[in-house]
Symmetry: C2
Subunit: 255 residues, 2 copies
């Protein structure tokens, strides 16, 4: 069920997560933030949990910004085997310039309820041609997304099930932190074990046993939809998680 809603007030209680995200690369001026608000806090679309957003084969017509909720990007083999190739968290940009390609090579689906802004490329182009630092920030974000995709490749190719799940949790935790959505080591966690299985390339049953192992090792603790990373250092160690691939740290101040 797709509904169009005008979310005019998203911006006031919770800062625009896109501005928050890009602020991790360059520190943005008030004018730049206002520009991002203008891009993002307009007509939005809401998708209920577990609903499709776009399907592989659909025309690729707009860029999408995640305002709230979790979504995933997945690909499927003809026989149905499905791999999640990425998660979208608030502040994420689904694909810069996708509109150039005519057809989606993967699907997007909401995990929890999701609010998204769609942006046409004309408008986007005109914004970044006026604000060169925003342009740089968007390119940066895009490069980080590629780096994440490479890390996922690495994750699936070389890590054991235990390490993989640990790595996924570390990445999600850090990415949520970047948009102010973790409360220390505690986070809202809508993923089912089946979601983790599809992202980790492991069977659901084995995810279950792996999560038990992580709990027994004192690395995580779950109560309902909340996940606590009870020993973040230990978890990162277990995963060989090295956050450098996320390229944070405002190294771009000089511009």
């Amino acid at each position: 069920m797709i509904t169009n809603v005008n979310l005019g007030r998203v911006g006031d209680r919770n800062n625009n997560p896109l501005a928050q995200k890009l602020g991790n690369y360059l520190s943005l001026t008030a004018a730049e933030i206002a520009t991002l608000d203008g891009l993002v806090l307009r007509k939005t679309r809401r998708y209920e949990a577990r609903h499709e957003i776009v399907r592989e084969g659909d025309p690729a017509c707009t860029m999408r910004f995640m305002l709230s909720g979790w979504a995933n990007r997945y690909k499927q083999l003809p026989d149905g085997r499905r791999q999640t190739v990425g998660f979208f968290l608030p502040g994420d940009i689904c694909d810069l310039n996708v509109a150039i390609l005519k057809v989606m090579d993967h699907s997007l689906a909401a995990i929890s309820a999701v609010v998204i802004t769609e942006i046409g490329d004309v408008e986007f182009e005109s914004t970044i041609s006026q604000f060169s630092r925003l342009k740089k920030a968007f390119q940066w974000e895009s490069l980080v997304n590629m780096a994440i995709q490479r890390e996922w490749t690495h994750n699936l190719g070389q890590r054991s099930a235990f390490e993989r799940i640990a790595h996924l949790l570390c990445e999600i935790h850090l990415r949520l932190e970047l948009v102010g959505m973790s409360n220390g080591n505690l986070l809202e966690f809508p993923l089912t074990q089946t979601d983790l299985a599809e992202a980790g390339g492991i069977s659901t049953v084995h995810v279950n046993r792996t999560m038990q192992e992580l709990r027994r090792a004192g690395l995580i603790h779950q109560k309902g939809r909340q996940l606590e990373l009870t020993n973040l250092e230990g978890l990162r160690e277990a995963a060989s998680f090295d956050p450098r691939y996320l390229h944070l740290g405002r190294q771009g101040e000089e511009l």
Copy 2:
């Protein structure tokens, strides 16, 4: 061993592979091709087979274009487990805008002897700001690279060893075809079984058995460094290879 060579004449016997590559997305004018030649056929670097090009942690200072040879991009865990996250074939662009990031999150190494052009972003920016169709072609190429990375993620997460290797071979074959480097189903193939193992996330021993299986199934045939895909349709079938993720077909003519 790194040597600087001026390859002034690369362009005349073999067309500039970059122009050939981008020509698969948009059909380029003579002026556009000349511009690409100007970008690419200048001072180049040659790396011998099996030598490092950049290492994880190095400063990320330039874009790179592959003029000839094969290279790979890989990441390594602290204990040495190594995953190839992508191959670079002639005509490939190592990373648009990498220079924005300060540090490489992965390494590049030559597989066969390789010739590369390095391009500074200032020069690159000025070129694409003058030639909007080239800009579009470069963005397209960049989106295709992301799509390839997603497909690799899918490959590692869901396909069996047999399917994975088959898929890799299909992809390589098609990508070589795009730059005129396959001779029908026959191709020059410098990868060792160890290379395939690192790309497929499988052990070398198992790659060996898998290649035997592919041979027994009549799908491939090897003589020395040559690989023949003796039953391309069968191979694609076995791999569930769907070339749509490479987004070919000059759908961009309208620009």
